[in-house]
């Protein structure tokens, strides 16, 4: 009796040790337990080693059509190098999964990283490898990628991540048929033109769709207005460590935003817009019988509208985009968003993957799927399969200045209300205490 008990106690203890120390394998505990649930310390020794030789783990946030496109790149990589790839996609809880893996001492070899604040954090924590240490010719990269893109992957002067794909965030999506019916003949080029177009389409069927429940739609509005109204230099300053959110340009930006985001133009009113998902707003414009003529968001709207909302859409007839209207700018300037790729181990597979990813061939394979716009200079616009993506790529190469999505540049750890949440209140007419926000942003920068 007592012998068998002892045996089972040993078995239990062995099982416990195995669970606690083994490379966690497939499942990672969810965050519901918070910090307390993270793996006990001391279990990380030695488990950073890559999986079986000749294979790498890639953690990504791309699922669906984005994943399909990336799989084409991965297949090409495996064909060229013989390294097999274990691909894992997780969009909803990406940051949770990645953080848990790193804390648990079992990071993926390669991680697709959304948001630069996120990148900075992992770089400063020492979790990310320097690109220069991975056998990539970093000096040569400057000739392959435009300056703004490499800057997005740079932390404290060191390159930690390769720009993978991007989207122009200065694309104003609209229904050409609605504009035509309402007598808007030329695409609005200035802010005044834009308001005039909204006025013309206001009741037939409606001016603008907005899904502000996803508050990043509002931060994109804020940034697009700011770079055009306050200028590129002010933009760089505001979204950097020396940014001053009490500056008059900030409230002026919100005031400009309220000129178009208000009950007069937004279909259903502001109240409803704050409770609406952004994909529902896309549907308001691009469903068979539109409720609104205009929707602002990045280049990825095209893929969603054509692929999910309404497959009968015709480019140039029922769906199209024009550049975000000029405000104070004379040159074309715009913001962009995108994901970068970094390595969390310096395994041979991870090195080979990053070395492959910066080649023009890899980017051509990817661009030809039509799912992405490649930042690589070696990709000719003829590589893109459709006109919407081609024009998006051209708009970024021809712009005089492009800047990374500002809210993604801000530190991730702003205590309390973030910029998006704050703008949700602002469009409802709340007065914003920018001094309070400034204190919290500053504290987050200082804590990085």
């Amino acid at each position: 009796m007592s012998r068998s008990l002892r045996l089972s106690a040993f078995a239990l203890a062995a099982a416990l040790v195995a669970t606690a120390c083994g490379p966690a394998g497939t499942t990672v505990p969810p965050a519901s337990g918070g910090p307390a649930a993270s793996a006990p310390e001391g279990s990380s020794g030695g488990s950073v080693a890559p999986g079986p030789a000749g294979s790498i783990n890639v953690l990504s946030l791309w699922g669906g059509s984005e994943e399909k496109a990336f799989q084409a790149v991965l297949a090409d990589f495996t064909a060229k190098t013989g390294v097999t790839v274990n691909y894992e996609a997780d969009r909803q809880t990406y940051s949770t999964t990645l953080q848990s893996r790193i804390t648990g001492g079992n990071p993926p070899d390669i991680a697709i990283i959304p948001g630069i604040g996120f990148l900075r954090r992992f770089a400063k924590d020492g979790s990310l490898m320097k690109i220069a240490d991975l056998g990539v010719d970093t000096a040569g990269l400057t000739s392959s990628y435009p300056e703004g893109f490499l800057a997005a992957g740079t932390v404290d002067g060191q390159l930690y991540a390769i720009p993978a794909k991007y989207n122009n965030k200065g694309t104003m999506w609209f229904r050409p048929d609605v504009y035509k019916d309402d007598g808007v003949t030329a695409n609005p080029a200035t802010w005044a033109d834009y308001k005039a177009a909204l006025d013309s389409t206001k009741d037939k069927p409606g001016a603008m769709a907005l899904g502000a429940k996803d508050d990043w739609n509002l931060t994109d509005w804020f940034e697009s207005i700011y770079i055009r109204q306050a200028g590129v230099d002010a933009y760089d300053k505001l979204f950097g460590a020396e940014g001053d959110w009490t500056d008059a340009t900030v409230q002026k930006d919100v005031d400009t935003m309220l000129e178009v985001i208000n009950d007069k133009y937004v279909v259903g009113g502001i109240d409803a817009a704050v409770g609406r998902a952004w994909t529902d707003a896309i549907a308001q414009v691009f469903k068979p019988t539109p409720e609104a003529g205009t929707f602002y968001e990045g280049g990825f709207v095209g893929g969603i509208a054509l692929g999910q909302t309404n497959t009968d859409l015709k480019i140039g007839e029922t769906i199209d985009w024009y550049p975000f209207p000029k405000i104070n700018n004379t040159d074309e300037v715009t913001t962009f968003g995108g994901d970068v790729v970094g390595a969390l181990t310096d395994s041979d597979g991870a090195k080979a993957f990053l070395q492959y990813l910066v080649t023009p061939e890899a980017n051509k394979v990817w661009a030809s799927t039509g799912a992405i716009v490649s930042p690589h200079k070696g990709v000719d616009t003829s590589a893109y399969p459709n006109d919407l993506v081609k024009r998006e790529a051209e708009s970024l190469t021809s712009a005089s200045a492009i800047r990374y999505d500002g809210s993604d540049l801000l530190p991730a750890g702003i205590a309390g209300e973030g910029l998006g949440a704050l703008l949700q209140r602002a469009i409802r007419g709340d007065k914003i205490d920018w001094a309070d926000f400034q204190t919290r942003v500053k504290a987050a920068w200082d804590a990085e």
């Binding site: 007592s2 008990l5 002892r6 106690a9 239990l12 203890a13 416990l16 606690a20 965050a31 519901s32 337990g33 918070g34 910090p35 307390a36 649930a37 993270s38 006990p40 310390e41 940051s95 949770t96 953080q99 790193i102 804390t103 954090r121 924590d125 979790s127 502000a212 429940k213 508050d215 259903g268 009113g269 109240d271 409803a272 817009a273 704050v274 409770g275 609406r276 998902a277 529902d280 308001q284 991730a412 750890g413 702003i414 205590a415 309390g416 209300e417 949440a421 704050l422 949700q424 209140r425 409802r428 709340d430 309070d436 804590a447």
Partner: protein, 326 residues
Amino acid sequence: MQADPPGGMERVAVSSIGVAKPPEAPKQIGRRYDRTTLLFLGPPAILMAIFLVYPTIYTIALSFNRGRRGEFTEWVGFDHYINLLTGDKSFLDLGSFPPEGAIWNNVLWAVFYTSLVIFLGLVVAVLASRVRYESIIKAVVFLPMAIAATALAIIWNFVYAPDSNIGLLNAILSPVTDRGISWLGNPSLVNAALIAAGVWGSVGFATVILSAALKSIPSEILEAARVDGATERQVFFGIIIPMVSLPISVLAVTLLVNVVKLFDLIYVLTNGGPGTKSRVIAFTMYNDSIPGGQFGRGAAVAVIMLVLLIPIMAYNIRRFRSSRVT
């Protein structure tokens, strides 16, 4: 009447701590602590130490630290607590009336969610017990319990959508409202809407527990009362309610603990918005720790949560003790 496991667990707990001095002879006490006993107590004690005691101590220590990567990097004293309780209006804002912030939202949940679930559960249980198709009613009411909280939140996302071609509620109301009501986009409605979704998901649980409790009331007592001329109202308030008061308090404690832990519904339905109006404590803990990367601050929120749970737990333990005495 009292469910067995809690009593059994308590017996183990008492003997392991050795608090209660049993009236038996000292010789028998010695036998209680022989090797077999320790062998039985060992594994649970080790499990508790690894998965409960260690993480708790780690979290408490972390709450006084910057906690980069969830490790100890720089001690900051009470900074996180001071900042959370005085400097973060999204966590606690006593400056406005009524107060606002995540803690206050948890108070709203504790009051309205708990009382509504118990009230509706009791109503359904009592009414259902008087009709022939009781099991069907109970099955239907219990159905939401079988839905994962995330799926439940997605369902309610469709119910609450502001446009009447998507939102069920606004579609029903569209004849009387000229514009859809933004249930989740309006700061003054959002918490009520969320609580309603939470209540919908939990009434079935209350119904089943209370229904079983009602069934356990001996019918002689009710008959005797009726024979003595008590009205149905008197029977309900004078006999039924007191006799199910223990299950009700068990239920209340369970629901209160659920409230303090509440996260998934908020995360999926509103992500704490609009602004930060629907945040709760557990949401702030997640938000500061994982996307925010401020593990020390997240740990401080977790400790505040723990402190709030202590009175509920203390009440629970005291009740188990007293119910054993009687």
